[in-house]
């Protein structure tokens, strides 16, 4: 590679063009959002659409402000966030452990395979009434729902990654005298790192589905509750507000995973 000082004219031009394109993409991204918000706002002000049905950015802002004034804004966000994060961590933790166990024991894997497939196909919301009866109507039921929605995906994703470990590398380690435990710690787990990250990304989405679904069914607090409540009393401002906050939270959690990915990949150089 040449030093930046010695770059040719052509290369400098190429760099400039590339940067221009990046700026264009970034500004159009932001522009698209601003245009959408502006159009939304104007169409309700100019009477093209009824704000009672579609709400508007300013009304969402006002709703957030009033929730904040009532002191319930962060309460609802906190409840949902806690349920989601606890459910996410539990689903990933338990699911990952089960996947390890199934990798370890081929017999267990074969015995349980059809059950896992069926559980994966089952719409988890069908378990709603059972969960309420078993776990009550509090946050516990919602966390259980979140775990249920996420865990099977975690198990299937990680197990298939574990089973795809390079046969030759396994052979090499065995020829060095490695036992099953060493195969796991030296090869199977580190080589499935990329799959782990992609699993986390899927699991984040699943956790939000689980917690909001759970709140639809039972809750007395949280963003899902606000959406259901807002829908029942026809306060669509509230529905929109909760949805927008949800959007922001889900995006934030996803970017945390992307950040984790960057750290892991940087350390692995892989």
């Amino acid at each position: 590679m040449k030093n930046p000082q010695n770059y040719s004219e052509e290369h400098l031009f190429w760099l400039k063009k590339r940067k221009k394109k990046l700026v264009l993409v970034q500004s159009l991204r932001v522009g698209l959002l601003l245009f959408f918000l502006l159009f939304w706002e104007l169409s309700t002000r100019l009477g093209w659409a009824d704000p009672f049905f579609v709400s508007s950015p300013s009304r969402i802002g006002a709703t957030i402000a009033s929730l904040y004034a009532e002191g319930t804004l962060f309460y609802h966000i906190g409840v949902t966030l806690l349920e989601t994060v606890v459910g996410f961590v539990a689903a990933v933790g338990i699911g990952y452990s089960v996947a390890l166990l199934l990798w370890w024991s081929d017999l267990l894997h074969r015995i349980l395979e059809p059950y896992i497939v069926v559980l994966n196909a089952l719409p988890k919301i069908a378990m709603g009434p059972l969960i309420i009866i078993w776990c009550g109507t509090g946050s516990k039921a919602i966390v259980v729902m979140t775990v249920l929605v996420g865990i099977i995906v975690v198990i299937m994703h990680m197990l298939s990654a574990f089973l795809e470990t390079d046969e030759n590398k396994l052979l090499l380690l065995r020829s060095m005298g490695a036992g099953k435990r060493q195969l796991l710690t030296k090869l199977v787990i580190p080589s499935s790192r990329a799959a782990f990250i992609s699993m986390l990304k899927v699991a984040v989405g699943m956790s939000w589905i689980g917690s909001i679904m759970g709140e639809y069914i039972v809750s007395r607090a949280g963003l899902g509750y606000l959406i259901v409540y807002g829908g029942q009393v026809f306060k669509l401002d509230l529905v929109m507000t909760a949805t927008v906050i949800l959007c922001a939270l889900a995006a934030a959690m996803y970017f945390l995973v992307v950040l984790l990915e960057k750290i892991l990949v940087k350390n692995a150089n892989h």
């Binding site: 590398k169 052979l171 060095m176 005298g177 692995a268």
Partner: protein, 244 residues
Amino acid sequence: MKEKILTFENVKLIYHTVRGETVATENLSFDVEEGEFVAMIGPSGCGKSTLLSLAAGLLEPSDGKVDRRGSVGYMLQRDELFPWRTIEKNILLPLEIRKKLTPEAREAAKTLAEKYGLKDFWRSYPSELSGGMRQRAALIRTLAAEPDILLLDEPFSALDYQTRLNVTRDVAGIIRREHKTALLITHDISEAISLSDRVIVLTRRPARVAHTHTLDFGETDPLKRRENRQFSVWFELLWKELNT
């Protein structure tokens, strides 16, 4: 008389699948002496890799005996360096697995790596090395565990021709200089001739020893052997033996 490092005695191996059984090898007997470089060639599909797994003790023979003095070091077609480990960590891996990672062993491995030009790459990742360098690192990884016998499973076949000739010479030179015992399994006749002291020709499945030849080049450099007049004579002979 030199000590026998590896002995196969009337070895039989049956391969089981749902569709039936296959006798991979039967009545297979040969041995490898200390310091010897033995090459095995056979028609494709005679179960060459299976033989190495038997030699390494990863498979138990159905009948007969495999006797092995000491530890084995395995080298595969690809370098199989772990991409998430530095060259240092890759080279120390077998010591780590065997729980022999003492400061002395670590130092010895480092000295070996430096001797063979890996000093500058010690903290690099495999992706930063060329194919030839990676294969060399794989060899040093194998040697760092101080194996009594090296098992080479077509270790050069994944490289392009140019690199392959150079790496073959490189690896062979290191093995000779370190006075290592080696068993190479390959389908490449010229590779067998250019590297080994003795060539064992196997039959079709079930694999047995068809012929054994001692190569008397008086020369161990693979490239110089290739230029030798005897080279083509051996090639023709082995070619015929493989195709009968």
